[in-house]
Symmetry: C2
Subunit: 210 residues, 2 copies
């Protein structure tokens, strides 16, 4: 099973991931994190320099791998057809991230990443541009090719919508639970990916209004 992390840095990362996901970035203190990780308060600054440094380390720890899979699936989609099928591009974009939810740790990561997107926009943009520019570039290009006929500006808007909906659906689905009177709960990653790909691809293909 999930063996307890051994090193101090890993214990901090695991605890922070969980707490950030649950309570948000701004509502989680470094003291809560070090308490949950059973390490000394100063360890965070020794290993990560600052709270922002900790967030960056958290994102790099798992997003690097997810983005690798994203590009791998995008390669496959682009090899299979010219231009690539929109559904396949969308699947490559959302699937590997949603699939993080297959493990409890990954679920925490996904929710905390969504928190960073909305609570700390500036930091998130900066990290994406610094560490994953290729992923951004490749998907912009792929969406453009997969949805021919759309003006460039419209493509960017629809990618923006897709990112937003992905982040929204990674966060706690308390809204969904509340307004379905508890009947509908978060489903498994495969089902969520299916729903997202279906919804987003259809939205992406929506006709332009006059």
């Amino acid at each position: 099973m999930n063996q307890v992390a051994t090193t101090t840095a890993e214990r901090i990362l695991d605890a922070a991931e969980h707490l950030f996901a649950e309570n948000g970035i701004g509502n989680t203190s470094l003291r809560q994190i070090t308490a949950a990780a059973s390490v000394n308060l100063a360890a965070i600054h020794y290993h990560f320099r600052s709270k922002d440094g900790l967030i960056e380390a958290l994102l790099l720890r798992r997003l690097a791998e997810a983005n690798r899979v994203r590009l791998e699936q995008l390669d496959a989609a682009e090899s299979a057809a010219h231009p690539p099928a929109l559904e396949k591009v969308m699947h490559a974009f959302v699937g590997p991230v949603v699939d993080l939810g297959k493990s409890p740790r990954g679920t925490h990561f996904a929710r905390m990443m969504a928190r960073v997107h909305t609570e700390r926009e500036g930091l998130m943009v900066e990290i994406l541009q610094r560490h994953f520019p290729e992923m951004v570039r490749r998907f912009k290009q792929a969406f453009r090719r997969a949805a021919p006929g759309l003006p460039p500006e419209e493509i960017l808007w629809r990618i923006h919508f897709s990112v937003g909906l992905l982040m929204w659906s990674l966060q706690s689905s308390r809204h969904l639970e509340a307004f379905s009177d508890g009947r509908v709960r978060q489903s498994n990653p495969a089902a969520l990916t299916r729903r997202l790909v279906s919804f987003l691809s259809a939205g992406f293909r929506a006709p332009l209004e006059s």
Copy 2:
């Protein structure tokens, strides 16, 4: 022009609206608010009892009117056709909220509402259920009728998606600006409503996968 608010309570509401929108709920202190409003710190507790009470008052101040317009437009859509057209229902759902952005104050309100949705899910759900149950009920019913053939659970998911994308697009579009290298900026409310209705309606109608 925008005359400066006269009463203490209004000055607090205006300042809080702006600061919450700009920096988020958790990153805005009551002292920042009272300083911006040029009122005494204790005035917040005198008029609103607590920070959560202030948030609730902020939401009620403008959301009540927006929801009234929503239901008005929904009435029109349901009178025009049976079942109502999905595009019209969607327009009634997103339009009045996006239109808040026509005034600077409304822009602040919309962005702060989106913040509450993501930063304080529990509080938002509670307020909606306490103050606007009819709006929730009516739109659930309308979406069900406008998209016949979809299972009830799927309807709830797609409403959930629609709410999420609406909130995402109300927040600062820093992502969009950054990844378009500044070329694409937030457009006017009418254009955003058009884009949202088009994208969301198409997504809502997406075929069910096996």
